[in-house]
């Protein structure tokens, strides 16, 4: 390449430059053209990056705009149903499980306490009964009659305590309502969450279809479905407070782009 250039320059200058001078000139030209190429490449990539940033910003703005647009198109009460009432319903149900569990535990604490006290009272009574039997054997006829009467009362008291224990045991068994209602409520929570997901998808899909058809009335049914599905996928994401980005975060992100 350089030889050809040297020969062409030699012909052009027609002996006015020496061979070393022509070579020097070619080296200079090569350096300059390489630098130029590098500069062109850098400028090209800078331009490309700028273009991409702009495209991304527009795309992000489009997504945010779509979100705002379909939210304003959907009846506010329906939006509220999805954003407020349904999540609240799940929270309320979870609250029921927690509060019934706390109450059930407290009641069981009490029942266990009553069970212990009743058992202690029965044990004490059995001791008194034994002492009475011993005294009865060692005493005279009058005292024996009184002891028998007292013994009868102790037996009756013991029977009452036994019935008490049965009632406590039965109350304990009935505390299983907390487990059973808890399981049913958990299933309802799952159902509410599923409903929320379905409603969200329906509302999004509906809003996006209306918007897309307005902007592009000629769009075919098939293209509309695939465009909406693509946008649904773009819009999908955490919606609850504290999860994902909020509007301020999105605006900040857009400003940085």
């Amino acid at each position: 390449m350089n030889k050809r250039l040297i020969s062409e320059i030699g012909n052009l200058v027609d002996g006015k430059l020496s061979a070393p001078e022509i070579e020097k000139l070619v080296r200079f030209m090569n350096r300059k053209s390489l630098k130029g190429l590098e500069e062109d490449r850098e400028a090209f990539f800078k331009h490309l990056a700028r273009e991409m940033r702009q495209e991304m910003k527009e795309l992000a703005e489009l997504i945010v705009e779509f979100k705002r647009d379909f939210q304003s198109r959907i009846h506010p009460e329906i939006t509220e149903l999805r954003t407020t009432y349904i999540p609240q319903a799940a929270d309320q149900l979870e609250g029921i499980i927690e509060s019934t569990e706390q109450a059930a535990n407290r009641i069981m604490d009490n029942l266990e306490g009553m069970q212990r006290l009743t058992e202690e009272a029965m044990e004490a009574l059995a001791g008194v009964r034994r002492q009475l039997v011993e005294r009865e054997a060692a005493s005279g006829p009058q005292a024996r009659g009184e002891a028998q009467d007292l013994g009868g009362r102790i037996d009756s008291l013991r029977q009452s305590l036994e019935r008490c224990l049965l009632l406590i045991g039965d109350s304990f068994e009935k505390m299983s309502f907390q487990d059973l209602t808890g399981q049913r409520i958990k299933r309802t929570i799952d159902l509410v969450n599923l409903m929320e997901e379905r409603i969200q998808k329906t509302l999004l899909s509906f809003g996006l279809k209306v918007t897309e058809k307005t902007y592009n009335p000629e769009i075919s049914g098939e293209d509309l479905a695939s465009t909406v599905e693509k946008k649904l996928s773009d819009l999908r994401g955490p919606q609850r407070p504290g999860q994902g980005l909020n509007q301020a975060d999105i605006d900040k992100l857009l400003a940085r782009l």
Binding site: E101, A104, M108, G169, F172, E173, K174, M175, D179
Partner: protein, 125 residues
């Protein structure tokens, strides 16, 4: 029925574990341990010797039926009496448990009497 035997209660609901524990104490059992799911129960079963397992069906991590299958396929554990204590009263559930080798099936809500009867039947056999 030997009330000195070691019993493992497996249920994710603390309330139910407590109820079962109380009932077992009323019957006379003294050595009672608890696990809140099948996975934790399997760990317990492999580290200590148990004579009876009372297990719920619906639990996170590992449901009762899976624990039963694992117990029955383990050479060391397969002989342990395994009682399913569950609100799942559907025929297919019961058939699945029987197929997996359940020793008895108690439907929630239950009474101390039912638990006592079922256990007596298992240990009399």
């Amino acid at each position: 029925m030997d009330t000195n035997m070691r019993v493992l209660i497996v249920d994710d609901f603390a309330t139910m574990r407590r109820i079962l524990k109380n009932i077992l104490k009323q019957i006379g059992f003294k050595n009672i341990s608890e696990a809140e799911n099948g996975k934790a129960a399997l760990k317990e079963l492999k580290s200590e010797k148990f004579d009876l397992v009372l297990c719920d069906w619906n639990m996170p991590e590992m449901p009762g039926i899976e624990l039963l299958n694992q117990v029955r396929s383990d050479e060391q554990l397969k002989g342990i009496p395994f009682v399913m204590v569950t609100a799942e009263a559907k025929k297919e559930n019961i058939l699945e448990a029987v197929k997996a080798g359940v020793s008895s099936y108690i439907v929630k809500p239950f009474t101390a009497e039912t638990v006592s009867e079922k256990l007596k039947k298992i240990f009399a056999a």
